[in-house]
């Protein structure tokens, strides 16, 4: 897909094939590492704390990252982009800062623990939670979301796509439902930001949480939350307080955006990399990235389906899922398969429960979990063929 550009290799130094992009994408696009080094060497002063030119330059880079995020997600105001460590940070901010005892939340049975664990804590404090069951292939019927809404419901929380089997959830329909009932929608876009078009206005998303190190192809330690135009930030309490470089004469937390939620020096070095990554995504085009991943996913799905003893989870249709494929080999535990894949075949993937016990209950793989191949934009058809060869060998040994 990337003719003319130097394409980073999906092979590690020792020749292993990286298929763990759903955990953290690797390699990073050309220019990301260079942007980090350049920022560190030339302008890595404290952004926005001091007034000197280097501090301003650092703050300018952070602001550009806000602009790129806003424009990628169809959000009109860069000041409503709030940076944090990762998506877990962002989800915690919304759940703990927006919900009060007595409130009711609707979520799905495909969520990551980044959603479920804060919700379980909130439950113990008087927030009630309805977890709408998804079908065994991970699909969510939007009617069930609507049926779960109660007079006290304030928020719908949904992952955009499962991190276990790639199934997409109907977030646009959920947004319409939320707005019809005058409640709010929080979307966990960990697996989709950068690969699927997301438009906060058109998709009726009130809170969009993202992480930099997965499908946005940036470094770890970056992520954040974008507030939709309907959200009155007075209703979202900051969950941390501290220095912001603004209003330093006051010992109370500032109320304006984004400082209200951004206490402490941000990961500007990481954001320099994220900025370069998003610019690369924009230059390639989200659709082109997606279409390459669909081709890879399709080849893998078709190939796996031909191997005796393989169970594939999810929709088994490349056009209806992300390029993350969950499967099992009959007679082989996921952990045994992982070791063999790594040591004998040089294939790096993630097995087990993927921080999403609810999702594994839903697809019927709890507690053993499954093997997950997380494909990325730098994988090649040859990577897929090698992976299929390995799975064929492992499956043959036990049949």
């Amino acid at each position: 897909m990337m003719s003319g550009l130097p394409v980073p290799s999906s092979r590690t130094k020792d020749g292993a094939i990286y298929l763990d992009n759903a955990a953290t994408s690797w390699p990073k696009p050309p220019g990301v590492a260079a942007a980090i080094v350049q920022f560190l060497e030339q302008s890595a002063a404290n952004p926005g704390r001091s007034g000197h030119r280097m501090s301003v330059e650092a703050a300018r880079m952070v602001y550009q990252a806000r602009e790129e995020i806003a424009s990628l997600f169809g959000a009109p105001d860069p000041l409503r982009v709030i940076f944090g460590q990762n998506i877990t940070d962002a989800i915690n901010l919304v759940l703990h800062g927006f919900l009060h005892p007595g409130d009711h939340v609707v979520t799905s049975s495909m969520e990551h623990n980044a959603v479920m664990r804060p919700l379980r804590v909130l439950e113990s404090k008087g927030v009630s939670v309805t977890c709408v069951p998804c079908s065994p292939d991970g699909r969510l019927d939007p009617q069930q979301i609507e049926d779960a809404i109660q007079p006290k419901t304030r928020l719908i929380v949904l992952t955009h796509a499962s991190n276990v089997c790639g199934t997409m959830l109907p977030i646009r329909l959920a947004g319409e439902i939320a707005h019809r009932h005058q409640i709010y929608l929080l979307v966990d876009a960990a697996q989709t930001a950068g690969v699927f078009p997301i438009h906060m206005e058109q998709d009726s998303i009130d809170f969009l949480a993202f992480t930099g190190h997965k499908s946005l192809y940036g470094p770890t330690g970056t992520g954040g939350l974008v507030l939709g135009t309907r959200v009155d930030h007075e209703l979202l309490a900051p969950i941390r307080q501290g220095g912001t470089g603004s209003r330093s004469e006051h010992e109370t937390q500032p109320g304006f955006l984004p400082d209200r939620y951004e206490s402490g020096t941000p990961n500007s070095v990481g954001l320099a990399g994220l900025l370069a990554a998003i610019r690369w995504i924009s230059s390639m085009g989200v659709e082109a990235i997606r279409s390459h991943e669909v081709n890879l996913c399709n080849r893998l799905l078709v190939g796996l389906a031909e191997i005796p003893g393989i169970t594939i989870y999810g929709t088994q249709s490349a056009s209806q899922q992300t390029a993350t494929i969950g499967f099992n080999i009959r007679g082989v535990s996921p952990s045994t398969a992982a070791l063999q894949l790594d040591e004998e075949f040089g294939i790096l993937c993630r097995v087990g429960l993927h921080c999403a016990p609810a999702a594994h209950h839903t697809i019927g793989t709890f507690p053993e979990g499954c093997i997950r191949f997380g494909l990325g934009v730098f994988n090649t058809m040859d990577d897929i063929d090698q992976a299929l060869f390995a799975i064929r060998q492992i499956a043959r040994e036990v049949q």
Binding site: V62, Y63, P254
Partner: protein
Amino acid sequence: MNASHAVILVDSTSHALRIEKLFQASGLACKLIPVPRHLSSDCGVCVRCNSTDLPLIHQVLDDARAPYHSIEIL
């Protein structure tokens, strides 16, 4: 030449950078400078422009509904 400056005070560096972008897009000359000590005890930056540009400054800020604290003439 002793042209006076208009200084736009803002709550946050992010707000100053937003204004810088808006002004650049409108062809307004500006510079981010540390907030002059006598204007505020704060540690951040503000946006300095030529005071002759005040009408356009107001227009651009109002059109974009860009948050700012106040405009001072130096």
